[in-house]
């Protein structure tokens, strides 16, 4: 039986140490600026984007993509927590206290889940005026958005955790994690529709889990749950499960 209480206490700590002004600015301000500035600037270039049976205008397309992007970004937190805990001796300290590795891992998952959902809600609220016209929130689509946010958070949280376990130097950690996340961000359907992309790029888009996450959330927002989106959900869950198992194994094996 896994106790809930120790996990809540660790989540409390995780949130206390990670939420700081810098993080919040990065989480809120950047997407906001991007949605409004880029969204409207590129409208001149991209007229409308077909999605499911709908045609979205570019700002709506971008704002919905931003939600997935923001979830991915917020999971960096989990990597940073693990990496800092190891560097500053808190991992050993926690492991010699009233906690198990399972508590530690689950608390990280819950933390990124909370931050992921929070940032999804935030961008949804902020983006709402932009995609107001085509939005279709209902009993299917809202759970779909939440599902996407949570699975996406676990997936990218696991990637960040794996990188943080594997790398000891601060430069290495920052370089690798930024490269991976930047690649995921731009080679995805978050900012740019796959329909307009040349073939090789379109293939790369779909080697990238962020595209799946973004598609699922977009499908949720605009009520366009196609067969393809269902396939994407399965792929996302499978991928998240595999990466989560790897991350857990690595964390469990971490030596002191």
């Amino acid at each position: 039986m896994i106790q809930i209480n120790p996990i809540i206490r660790l989540v409390n700590r995780n949130l206390t140490i990670s939420i700081n002004p810098g993080f919040i600015i990065w989480q809120i301000l950047f997407p906001l600026i991007y949605i409004f500035v880029a969204g409207f600037a590129y409208t001149a270039l991209i007229d409308s984007v077909p999605f499911g049976g709908k045609n979205l205008d570019y700002p709506a397309f971008l704002a919905s993509g931003m939600i997935g992007f923001n979830i991915m970004n917020s999971t960096l937190i989990s990597g940073i927590i693990i990496w800092n805990d190891r560097r500053h001796g808190m991992f050993e300290q926690i492991m010699s206290g009233p906690f198990t590795r399972t508590h530690y891992i689950l608390s990280n998952i819950v933390t990124i889940g909370i931050i992921g959902l929070f940032s999804a809600a935030l961008i949804t609220a902020v983006g709402y005026p932009v995609f107001f016209d085509s939005v279709e929130f209902n009993i299917v689509t809202i759970p779909l958005i939440i599902f996407g946010s949570v699975v996406g958070a676990i997936l990218f949280g696991s990637i960040a955790s794996i990188i943080s376990v594997k790398l000891r130097s601060s430069e290495g950690f920052n370089v690798i994690i930024n490269t991976v996340f930047l690649f995921c961000a731009f080679a995805s359907t978050a900012f740019y529709p796959v329909q307009g992309a040349p073939q090789p790029l379109a293939t790369i888009f779909y080697l990238n889990p962020l595209s799946y996450l973004v598609d699922i959330i977009r499908a949720g927002i605009f009520g366009q749950v196609t067969d393809f989106v269902i396939t994407e959900m399965l792929v996302l869950v499978a991928l998240a499960a595999i990466l989560f198992v790897i991350a857990t194994k690595l964390l469990t094996k971490l030596d002191f």
Binding site: N5, P6, R9, L10, N12, R13, T16, I17, N20, N84, H88, G89, M90, E92, Q93, I94, M95, S96, G97, P98, F99, T100, D255, F256
Partner: protein, 310 residues
């Protein structure tokens, strides 16, 4: 009750045997000192006892709990200050204590009270609002040790807690620890390289070298057993020829004239030698100005035990 019991405890790393058959039996309610040179295996034993790592061989029982079966139950009852620093860089000193108490499920009111008490006991009031990242190494260490007292525990492991502390802070900590043991029946497992500290604080001491226990006893017993030679100095007023010739029959003593006339006894049986010499001084009518015994200190014993085992 035995607080810590190990049987044939071993820990092998790829190329080293860090702990090599350690048997410990430690009673509750004392400060147990664990001494040994660098790389002797002290920290490894602490990591084993605190269930951070598992042994290659042997049995560990802490507070009557089998560490292989119920490690979490042990961890709930112990406090640990490891050798390496541990801190939350973004939190203030005060918040670090507070959050640590929260992690240990201490209620809010108690947390507040203990935070204040500990900030004062460890002289941290002036830096309470400072971020851990901005503290000096010694200040950070103090917070790390103080933090452990936010929660209740039956057994506390301290791996070189005084490294980096100034003499006043060091003494304050030692007195604080003594007080805790006296008042709450806490047991402390303590390692240090400062032997005067161990002498001041510890009820019993184990000396470990190359992963093996070389000796376990109270500081005074260790001195009796290993304090090979005791030195006694007798300051006298004058040295007569008669005294010189009589003393020359006793090989364990020597006469020094500078800076003042002194008879120095250096012997494993210095008390007996002393009696004989006092007799001679009496016979020769030599006046004694002062008499002093130089106690064997733990450092000499440490060097001897470790030297012998190498």
């Amino acid at each position: 009750m035995l607080c810590i019991e190990t049987k044939d405890l071993r820990k092998k790393y790829a190329s080293t045997v860090a702990v090599d058959g350690v048997d410990l039996q430690i009673e509750s309610g004392q400060v147990f000192g664990f001494l040994g040179p660098n790389g002797a295996g002290k920290s490894t034993v602490i990591k084993l006892l605190t269930t951070l790592i598992s042994p290659s061989n042997g049995k560990i029982s802490v507070l009557g709990i089998d560490s292989a079966k119920h490690p979490l139950e042990i961890r709930k009852k112990i406090g640990v200050v490891l050798q390496q620093p541990s801190y939350e860089p973004t939190l203030s000193a005060e918040k670090s204590l507070e959050k640590y108490g929260m992690m240990w499920n201490i209620d809010k009111k108690t947390r507040k009270k203990r935070t204040e008490e500990l900030l004062s006991a460890f002289g941290l009031e002036e830096i309470r609002k400072k971020k851990m990242d901005d503290l000096s190494i010694g200040q950070r260490r103090r917070v790390q040790v103080a933090r452990e007292f936010m929660h209740d525990m039956d057994l506390l492991f301290l791996d070189e807690p005084t490294v980096g502390l100034d003499p006043a802070a060091r003494r304050k900590l030692l007195d604080f620890l003594r007080e805790q043991v006296k008042n709450s029946g806490l047991t402390i497992f303590y390692t240090t390289h400062v032997l005067s500290e161990a002498e001041y604080l510890c009820d019993n001491i184990a000396i470990i070298n190359n992963g093996k226990i070389m000796a376990v006893d109270s500081p005074s017993e260790l001195k009796n057993r290993f304090g090979h030679e005791k030195t006694i100095k007798i300051h006298i007023s004058t040295v007569s020829e008669e005294l010189k010739s009589k003393l020359s029959t006793i090989p364990e003593c020597q006469i020094k004239l500078e800076p003042e006339p002194t008879v120095i006894i250096n012997s494993t049986k210095s008390e007996i030698v002393l009696m004989n010499i006092l007799k001679i001084l009496n016979e020769t009518d030599t006046k004694i100005n002062d008499l002093s015994a130089i106690p064997t200190n733990l450092e000499e014993i440490f060097l001897k035990v470790v030297g012998d085992s190498n």
